[in-house]
């Protein structure tokens, strides 16, 4: 099976800079199971919004929908020595060697959900940190973080001022922020995205 060419960064591509038009777009977050919805609340299960735990406060991995399609989320990397190469950051003008069929497989149990970039962008939600009174905001922002096997990889990050939360907050403050972020991600997860919401990504953004 050939790796989808539309995911690979091309030598003429460049980073997609932040622009307000991104707010009309959506990012996809993949999950390890299709059984996403808690039947008791009819909302996404808490354990799937950030299934790697608090490290996601540093870098919440998503994909810009448009050229990246929901089915692409089914691609899973084999745990071989080539995986780190494909999942590491792509740098501008770098030529990527296409993955071989032995480097990846297609996951059968596939789950994904979406976030409106506009909604993420409108964060911060407040965080009340007694040590840094009266209020300190945990800001969320969305940025393009292409990796070698996926040009459309975007990160959602939370910071206090200009610092990563890991360096700014103590253990309990991180937990408080984590509870807040988890709530935010559960509330704003979009389980089904109508096709008309998926917009084309203008070439001028990345070429």
């Amino acid at each position: 099976m050939l790796y989808p060419d539309h995911l690979l960064p091309k030598v003429e591509y460049r980073l997609i800079e932040w622009r307000k038009e991104l707010c009309e777009h959506y990012v996809l977050r993949s999950a390890p199971s299709a059984d996403l919805i808690d039947p008791d609340t009819r909302m996404i299960r808490a354990r799937f919004v950030n299934d790697n735990g608090r490290e996601h406060l540093l870098d919440y991995s998503t994909n810009l929908i448009g050229i990246f399609r929901p089915n692409d989320a089914a691609i899973e990397w084999e745990k071989n020595e080539r995986k780190p190469y494909y999942t590491s950051t792509w740098t501008k003008a770098e030529i990527v060697e296409p993955p071989k069929s032995s480097d990846f497989y297609i996951r059968e149990d596939l789950g994904y959900f979406f976030y409106a970039i506009d909604m993420l962008h409108q964060y911060p939600q407040p965080i009340n940190i007694a040590r840094i009174q009266p209020h300190t905001q945990a800001k969320c922002y969305v940025c393009h973080t292409p990796v070698r096997a996926n040009f459309w990889h975007f990160s959602v990050r939370w910071k206090i001022g200009s610092d990563d939360i890991e360096t700014t907050l103590n253990k309990n403050e991180r937990r408080a922020l984590l509870g807040l972020v988890r709530t935010f991600l559960i509330e704003h997860a979009i389980l089904e995205l109508p096709p008309d919401k998926i917009k084309e990504i203008p070439e001028i953004w990345y070429k």
Binding site: L15, E17, W18, K20, D38, D40, T41, R42, M43, R45, A46, R47, N50, D51, N52, G53, R54, H121, Q122, Y123, P124, Q125, P126, I127, N128, H135, Q137, K139, C140, Y141, V142, C143, H144, K159, N172, E173, R175, A176, L178, G179, L180, R182, T183, F184, I186, E187, H188
Partner: protein
């Protein structure tokens, strides 16, 4: 690296939630339904005409028993779900004092259930935490307990949303968060039932 996009300030104030007395926040969508409305309690229990104090007492007792049964059933279901989740993710909770975990979780579940949520669920997270989510009408409460072998009392967080906006967010020890939960939900609950 891109710089963060500009964002408007947004602060939370505990009073914002505590001062909400608009019963429409909870109206008709708690687990309990006042006379003639849909919900967990059959409407015939409260809409039939009564003619004596004995009849009123009998109906009241039946209603109380039914509410208690509903709470017990939901509690049992939450306990079962939690047990299943803990078995799947047992590695995360290996070093945790089971008694503390069980006791804390049962307290959260019962506290949330006595205010008759329309929906309630429990899940565990990769951060060795257990999160309870209860819906009271349009208000969604998220009460998360973080477990750590070195902490005799769990750290907890309480987040309250209305129309997807977080109106209350706080972390603290379990007892403090329990007080916050009650101070928010009790006046709203009383207000709803006074209006019916």
């Amino acid at each position: 690296m891109l710089s963060p996009p500009p964002s408007p300030p947004a602060y939370v104030n505990v009073q914002d939630v505590r001062q909400w007395t608009n019963s429409s926040l909870l109206n008709n969508r708690t687990g309990y339904s006042p006379a003639g409305q849909t919900g967990n309690i059959p409407s015939n229990l409260s809409t039939q005409q009564v003619h004596s104090l004995d009849q009123i007492e009998q109906k009241t007792n039946t209603l109380i028993a039914q509410i208690q049964r509903t709470i017990d059933q939901k509690f049992k279901k939450l306990e079962t779900t939690l047990q299943q989740r803990l078995e799947v993710d047992h590695v995360l909770f290996d070093k945790i004092n089971v008694t503390v975990l069980r006791q804390s979780c049962a307290l959260v579940a019962r506290q949330m259930l006595i205010f008759l949520p329309s929906r309630i669920a429990v899940d565990v997270t990769p951060d060795a935490s257990v999160i309870y989510q209860a819906h009271y009408g349009d208000l969604h409460f998220y009460w998360e307990c973080f477990f750590d072998a070195s902490e005799p009392i769990p750290y907890a967080t309480l987040n309250v949303t209305h129309n997807k906006t977080i109106h209350f967010s706080k972390g603290g020890d379990f007892i403090a968060i329990q007080k916050d939960f009650q101070s928010i939900i009790t006046p709203l609950f009383k207000k709803v039932f006074r209006n019916h």
